[in-house]
């Protein structure tokens, strides 16, 4: 690395990167507007939209009434009228009052209108655990949406991806479920302001290795990287793939990696039953069966409601749980 200070690279936490990405998208296109509970004056409970109402005004950043179905339903109407709404759902567990509007309307309108209508709506969902919060504040509901045709679903794991992926999601003419791993809001990382490193739906190898491929999205990517460090100390080489997009899933890097390592562990905070990890396991078994030396293993949250916070550390997969699965994969 050179010592020249590149003005195009800034260091910031994901929360600030999202804020900067939203600001840029709003500056680039005056049809972009933000709507949600407490996102204006307060800047959102996670301060992702801090300062944006002051900068762009109350008709670009809407403190809405308290109703998720209302937020999504009116965003659909605004999109019909030519706007590009970006909705904030306050916490993962509060998306369900809007579920009908998302899955029965938003997801299907382009298809129902045989392509004559586009739905450039982004729904930002802070999701996942590790914040010690009470019920409904730590869930990972992404599989419901990944399961729904017509929706795109993505989840950044770094500030750089957050900065670019939020803008790319807003540019998409399809609805995008944008899952923000809230436990990654605060760690800092470098953001390259000069250009996006990957397409919105590209998955990426973020650490190369030779023994076992490990795959995850969102906050779990950092757990995989920590596990890879621990494994390396024991002489086991993990290749880490950051999915970035969970609908559609970009399988090429995963399959390429599995053909090399012969072993795959998929990790997620969400319960494993009928999950994103299940889909990957099935697809890799179908497409790379002869490369596999071991069954694809899933490491997931348990198939229970997210437990009281004092049990979250047991519920959420950590590096040890990843390594336990890695050991099992290697035992074949």
């Amino acid at each position: 690395m050179t010592m020249s200070i590149d003005a195009q690279v800034a260091t910031m936490p994901m929360a600030k990167a999202l804020n900067a990405g939203l600001r840029q998208a709003m500056a680039d296109n005056d049809k972009v507007l933000l709507m949600g509970e407490d996102i204006g004056k307060l800047g959102g409970v996670f301060r992702i939209t801090e300062g944006l109402q002051a900068e762009f005004g109350e008709s670009r950043v809407l403190d809405t009434p308290l109703a998720e179905s209302g937020i999504i339903g009116t965003a659909i109407g605004l999109a019909m009228r030519g706007y590009r709404p970006v909705c904030e759902i306050q916490f993962d567990g509060f998306i369900y009052p809007g579920f009908n509007q998302i899955t029965s309307q938003l997801a299907k309108l382009t298809n129902r209108n045989e392509g004559s209508l586009q739905m450039p709506v982004v729904i930002r969902v802070p999701y996942g655990g590790h914040i010690g919060a009470i019920e409904h504040h730590q869930e990972s509901p992404e599989a419901y949406f990944a399961h729904t045709a017509g929706l795109r679903s993505v989840s950044p794991s770094t500030p750089n991806d957050a900065y670019w992926m939020i803008q790319e999601s807003i540019e998409s003419n399809d609805p995008v479920m944008f899952f923000e791993p809230k436990s990654r809001y605060w760690p800092k990382g470098e953001v390259d302001l000069s250009g996006s490193a990957a397409a919105l739906h590209a998955s990426r190898v973020v650490r190369t290795g030779t023994d076992v491929t490990v795959v995850a999205h969102g906050a779990m990517v950092s757990v995989l990287l920590a596990a890879a460090e621990l494994a390396a100390a024991e002489g086991i080489s993990l290749e880490v793939v950051d999915l970035r997009s969970i609908a559609p899933i970009d399988y090429a890097p995963i399959l390429e990696s599995v053909r090399k390592t012969g072993r795959l562990v998929v990790a997620q905070e969400a319960p494993g039953n009928v999950s994103v990890g299940s889909e990957i396991a099935a697809t890799v078994a179908e497409r790379a069966f002869y490369s596999l030396e071991a069954p694809v293993l899933r490491v997931s949250g348990f198939d229970v409601p997210f437990p009281p916070a004092k049990l979250e550390a047991l519920f959420l997969p950590d590096a040890d749980r990843i390594l336990e699965a890695v050991d099992r994969a290697l035992a074949y």
Binding site: V45, P65, A67, G70, G132, A133, D303, V304, K310, L314
Partner: protein, 379 residues
């Protein structure tokens, strides 16, 4: 700054003026007989409830700051609305709270350590509504407005069972559901009123308009006084000064009696104020002025009722006893909070289903074995 009052041409029901003198508004007239039935001991109980709830609330916020709790949603300032309505409910009534009704829980007999446990993160419920000691006070609901529909369905069942409107106020059941001004925007709350009106449920909707839904003023939820909206659904509705415990009591007692005797669903909007932050995670300086808050501090329900009791000649000894009892109450909560143990690791699998389920069995066993192996035992 945003306007924070939805005013009505009709003044809210009030019996105690801000200085504590007994001077009922004309709107209070139909409710006064319910006050005549109260004894001095009842009055003292109301005061004791409010002071105890306030002390508990402050203690819990302190425990949160000390790292004992994940979060605390304070009821500070809303004790008049909660104690008045809570005391108006009868033993056989059913209470569906939101998440801030600590004073009502206290009145119904719930061990408030249960609320502490929820906010500490050791349980999702904290108390068992099927235990008669908990006064039919159901566990908190955190998803805004969801409990309104549950209360309505429950009240439909009460009616279908013939457990109401028999003419016996000592056994006829009614249902009371608590929710906030923000919740009135949710479909669930509006649908609850539709169903309640349709089935003429024995039910009171108790809306605490504390003027804020986190940072959003009530004027964003409604341009019309919220109680007026209920009338559109066909519910008799009234607005009351929620910081006047006697008015809250009288209005709740009458509308519960109406609901109990076949009058169908009713709505009470109690005007009050969230003196504290939304929760301990919130920073109200970002969205509201201290001036407005101070103007509501001046209408404190406890101060007002204390002035009333003093005028009536309550003894100094009474007040000091209440305060020292409240101190004892909070000391006990504090001590027991420090003694709360984390749940067993398999607790999360225990009541997901009512019967054995293969996934639960398998995963419970897997986690137990895994934890044993991590603890150094045999893998």
């Amino acid at each position: 700054m945003a306007e924070t009052e939805t005013t009505s041409p009709v003044p809210p029901v009030q019996v105690l003026a801000a200085d504590g003198t007994f001077s009922p508004t004309a709107t209070a007239e139909p409710y006064l007989p319910y006050l005549d039935a109260l004894s001095d001991a009842d009055h003292e109980q109301f005061y004791r409830d409010m002071v105890t709830a306030r002390a508990f609330d402050i203690e819990a916020a302190n425990l949160q700051r000390q790292g004992q709790l994940a979060l605390w949603p304070p009821c500070h300032g809303q004790e008049g609305a909660q104690v008045g309505s809570g005391r108006a409910a009868r033993a056989q009534d059913h209470i569906f709270p939101s998440y801030r009704e600590h004073a009502v829980g206290l009145i119904r007999g719930v061990d408030l350590l249960g609320i502490i446990e929820v906010m500490r993160g050791t349980t999702h419920s904290g108390w068992d509504v099927s235990d008669p000691r908990n006064g039919n006070f159901r566990p908190y609901t955190l998803v805004i407005g969801a409990q309104a529909l549950h209360a309505t369905g429950f009240a439909m069942g009460v009616k279908f069972d013939g457990a109401t409107a028999t003419g016996n106020p000592d056994t006829d059941e009614a249902v009371m559901v608590y929710f906030g001004d923000g919740a009135t925007s949710q479909g669930d709350v509006n649908e609850a009123m539709v169903f309640a009106a349709s089935y003429q449920t024995p039910q009171v909707f108790f809306l605490q308009n504390n003027h804020w839904a986190i940072s959003v003023p009530v004027t964003t939820q409604s341009r019309t006084p919220l109680f007026e909206r209920a009338k559109g659904f066909g519910l008799p509705a009234v607005q009351v000064d929620g910081n006047d415990v006697l008015a809250s009591y009288a209005v709740s007692a009458k509308h519960l009696a109406d609901a109990r005797s076949g009058g169908g669903p009713q709505l009470i909007e109690a005007l009050t104020y969230r003196i504290g932050a939304h929760t301990t995670s919130d920073d109200p300086t970002k969205y509201r002025t201290q001036e407005v808050t101070d103007s509501w501090v001046a209408k404190d329900p406890i101060v007002r009722f204390e002035a009333y009791l003093r005028n009536k000649g309550a003894s100094e000894e009474f007040f000091s006893t209440v305060v020292s009892d409240a101190k004892e109450f909070t000391a006990d909560i504090r001590a027991r909070t420090h003694a709360i143990e984390d749940p067993d690791l398999t607790f999360m699998f225990d009541s997901v289903y009512s019967e054995d389920h293969p996934l639960m069995t398998e995963q419970r066993e897997w986690l137990s074995a895994y934890e044993r192996s991590m603890a150094g035992g045999a893998a």
